[in-house]
Subunit: 137 residues, 2 copies
Amino acid sequence: MTNSEILSNYLKNHGVKPSIQRLKIYEILRNNVTHPTADEIFNHLVKEIPTLSLATVYNTMHLFEQKELVRIINIENHQARFDWNMKPHGHFQCNVCGTIYDIEIDTNQMNINELDEYQLEESHFYFKGLCKTCLNK
Amino acid sequence: MTNSEILSNYLKNHGVKPSIQRLKIYEILRNNVTHPTADEIFNHLVKEIPTLSLATVYNTMHLFEQKELVRIINIENHQARFDWNMKPHGHFQCNVCGTIYDIEIDTNQMNINELDEYQLEESHFYFKGLCKTCLNK
DNA sequence: CTACAAAATTAGAATAATTTTAATCTATGG
DNA sequence: CCATAGATTAAAATTATTCTAATTTTGTAG
């Protein structure tokens, strides 16, 4: 099975009909950039699918989110990013180069007692500062 | 000293000249709503200061952030909120009523080894789900 | 096949939050 | 007073996202 076929099946198994647009968008998420914005995905793909519309990217992202194929992350204000990694984890964004790194976080280890009062549905952790690469410059 | 005088001095001590706009905005943050949006602050204040401009609210917020008087929180996409509480803590937003609650979080207790690689400047934690009030309905 | 319905995609307009611009106002120090 | 820097303002511009309505594609029953 090719990589495309694998991802195509993966979409099907999550209740998403794998149109060419959806498949390519998911491929970008899985194979290229890690946490792209809608615009980045669009610009990347429009070369290949010239009739692609930004609305399709947004539609697809919301569909993916609903089917639990991606998580929407809000590190910067005014720009959503999409993350295919559904395992609980956090993010670190470098204030200089803007790169976003995944950070392993074990939510259970945190045991925040106060949260017992709530019915938890989502957890988001992110950090900002300077990454190694930018520190060494 | 009146409450206004205390807050006025507080601004001065943080390097912010306490104009009436800035003082009233900070008063709202401290005394009224907990995590207001720029628009909420504007609508609250424009009754009292009819010439107030939304740009002033944004300018003031960015000044406050720079002077470490507020933190900007990005729980929802497409709408920043302002938090005067500078102690490290997290947030919980109810998916039904939208209320944002403060959550005590001890960052040190988390010891995320991976973060050693970075020079940390900000930490953000937020959760979503259902609050007690909405659960009991 | 073919026709039809449903689903998906699209372009472009609309909306919402924020930033920018340029003008006006205010406070302060000489 | 006056000059100057800083603060505020209204309005226009920008950016990200959503909406709308039309068009295209897909799947299916005849």
